[in-house]
Assembly symmetry: C2
Homo-oligomer: 439 residues x 2
């Protein structure tokens, strides 16, 4: 039974046109944004006072500040500290309705977003559905190597890592203790590097004195990377410095080491097995299924190939932004990072506003790269601002200021700052809870 | 394959007798505490410098500050803010080992705590395993009426309550919206009263402006109680005042209303149905299965009937404390509250210390009742200190000071205070995450 959501129309009519008679034909264009990540939320905020009926649909009720997810996974922050309810963020926008719903498809011909058996009509559509973990041609690895894309995955990693120490404390066999205290991270992009540093500090500092039988300081944290160097999107000099900083934290880095096998006993590299009970996947992402909904041309990672104005070729009213998109600029594909998604969200919002109001000539999207950051542990970061490099504590402070600034919500910022200061000075981690059951 | 945990002995030998030769017969008595709730943790802390080998076993890796669990369930605090890793709390006690394990039984004859296929020998045993929800003769109600005893249950309630509003926002049928926005709490002890006040404030204040279609302020919060008045352990005058305060918050209170039926559509009271999709169970608890492990004499709630020194009759080296125990004092059973468990934990620790050192005459346990508190919403509480009554904001401030003081860990105290201040002044709730899937 498919039908348009009648009350949805009603909702928006009542809010946007509260003063109008019901039978008046005039209505504002309906804009639907799917996904309230960095791109979708920026677009929604920028359309807050535009003459449109805006509906934001997300499967979750919260916006997640994903760059700090590794802090949740390493027991430094609670999920609520890096999340905000979407409808609370947008509560003051009278033209905006937020729906917590799972989108199942798009009917381009009828201009409807499909929500299971129901449908949500649109005049303009913005798809900002993000990315998911990608295990290349090995979907069976997913069972053993957990990714870090959602709160669920982050608390799962947290439970697995902490439980590994608990099980090791109960284990009489030194070899098995070794397996339990070996943590393997596959993929040395920013997520892999940051997570490796965080686990190393958790083991070697935060947990150091809490056990009687095992020595958490003996835990091995191994970061494996198929490519020749870590953090390949940074200049080579910074990669080297970051690697040194990781070694300093006790992380073993193995580059040019493609993973050949992942299973319940560990990973296989160069024909050799690394025995480990905890494997974290940070090797790659693929776009969300939005491309399939659209029947669009996709790149190898499932990303939609869009026009320079971020529309779907042939559909001037359908935009795709963020990690779901493949776009070349200056001969290189734009990276799947928050600033790209945010700038795309604001660009699309401005374009839409222009179209529904004054009209006029349109410019293609152009990404302004303000720099690239990654942290290694609690006081070291590397920063690359258009070729200008910064490393060490100063870079870390810059990272801190930027991330707190962008953490949506004043309260979250203060609590996060407080937690960070606390962790920094004491190495205590406040969220050391094992809340999920083992499989 | 049952065997004693050899390495367990090894662990303690190494830590407690690090300086002794391995073949020396002397060793400190082995004390095992099962459960690190209020009672168990107090006992463990009080034995920190006693000449014993102490092992604390808990199924979780954290101590939970249960009196604030309703804050998690109502999206005001994160789980980590009311929990502390047990081994971190006890990390400075050199004589103490913490094991995260599920206890499956006790072998009194062999003096062993059973952990699945393994066994942990003891010279003295302290069982502090707490209580669980009790659905009287209706275990089938458990599926529909969720209790509030664990972090899992608290985040489940949080998800259910928040999801009810999200589903209502999508629902065109006003009758179904009404069912979704009706919250029924069964049982008007402190937990039911506090949870009812918290849900009322969440709906009527925190969420008030965040929806477009529904009016969260129209949500009904119904507190039903089989007995003639709410908070029956308080003086009647205070019950009346608390009821008035609840009404003021918009909670409907129905006393003398035993629940006859609980199912997916709501509850049945006096032959009439209250349609509701969210039912919270705060009507009763029963003791943990420790009594069954011991084959002990139990009261109707499954609590172990102990001797005046809290030992199992006939077993002078087996203590049972906290919610697992039934003990009469001045003709009344002691209530199942944190202060009773904590005093019992300290009593048992003192008795044990005396027995393994100087010896001498022993006194029976005597509970010193320092008072009884319950909150109604964000600025009202009732306090009964040995007949001296206090109500209103001042009582609430007293409650606040006491609870922050007892919240273990300096960091948690500060963050909690900050969150509370924030919630108090803004009505914003920081943990509004729906993180569990619907069934």
């Amino acid at each position: 039974m498919t039908g348009t959501i009648e009350n949805q129309e009603f909702i928006q009519e009542r809010n946007v046109h509260g003063e109008q008679a019901e039978n008046k034909p005039a209505r504002f264009p309906r804009v639907v944004i799917v996904g309230a990540g960095f791109g979708g939320l920026q677009a929604a905020k920028a359309l807050g006072h535009a003459p449109v009926q805006l509906t934001v649909v997300d499967r979750n009720n919260y916006h997640l500040f994903q760059p700090l997810l590794y802090w949740v996974a390493s027991a430094g922050l609670s999920p609520a500290e890096i999340s905000m309810p979407i409808r609370h963020v947008l509560r003051r926008q009278k033209n905006t309705t937020v729906l917590m719903e799972e989108v199942t498809g798009v009917d381009l011909a009828r201009q409807e977003v499909l929500l299971g058996e129901r449908a949500l009509p649109y005049d303009y559509l913005v798809l900002a559905t993000g990315a998911r973990d990608h295990y290349f041609n090995h979907p069976e690895w997913m069972e053993y190597a957990i990714g870090l894309k959602s709160i669920q995955e982050a608390t799962d990693i947290r439970s697995r890592v902490l439980r590994a120490f608990e099980l090791a404390e109960l284990e009489p066999d030194p070899e098995k203790i070794g397996e339990l205290l070996t943590f393997v991270l596959v993929g040395a992009g920013p997520t892999g590097v940051e997570m490796a540093g965080a686990i190393a500090e958790l083991a070697h500092k935060s947990l150091a004195k809490d056990f009687r039988h095992i020595h958490p300081t003996s835990a091995r944290v191994i970061l494996v990377e198929a490519g020749p160097r870590i953090l390949p999107t940074f200049p080579e000099k910074l990669s080297k410095k970051a690697r040194k900083a990781l070694n300093h934290l006790g992380v073993e880095v193995r580059t040019s080491s493609p993973v050949e096998q992942v299973d319940a006993d560990g990973v296989m590299i160069g024909g050799k097995r690394i025995k480990s009970k905890t494997i974290i996947w940070s090797a790659g992402v693929a776009a969300s299924p939005a491309g399939e909904w659209l029947g669009a041309k996709l790149d190898r990672g499932g990303r939609v190939l869009v026009s320079p104005d971020l529309t779907l070729p042939g559909r001037a009213n359908v935009f795709v932004i963020g990690d779901t998109v493949s776009l070349m600029q200056d001969g290189k594909p734009l990276p799947g990072v928050a600033p790209v998604a945010m700038q795309q969200g604001r660009y699309v919002a401005a374009l839409l506003k222009q179209r529904v109001t004054t009209g006029g000539p349109e410019r293609p999207f152009h990404y302004v790269d303000k720099g690239n950051l990654a942290t290694v542990g609690r006081s070291y970061a590397i920063v690359d601002i258009r070729g200008f490099a910064l490393t060490g504590l100063l870079a870390w402070l810059l990272w801190l200021v930027i991330h707190i600034y962008y953490l949506i919500g004043f309260r979250n910022r203060l609590i996060t700052l407080f937690q960070w200061s606390w962790t920094y000075f004491t190495f205590n981690r406040g969220a050391r809870l094992i809340t999920t059951k083992p499989d």
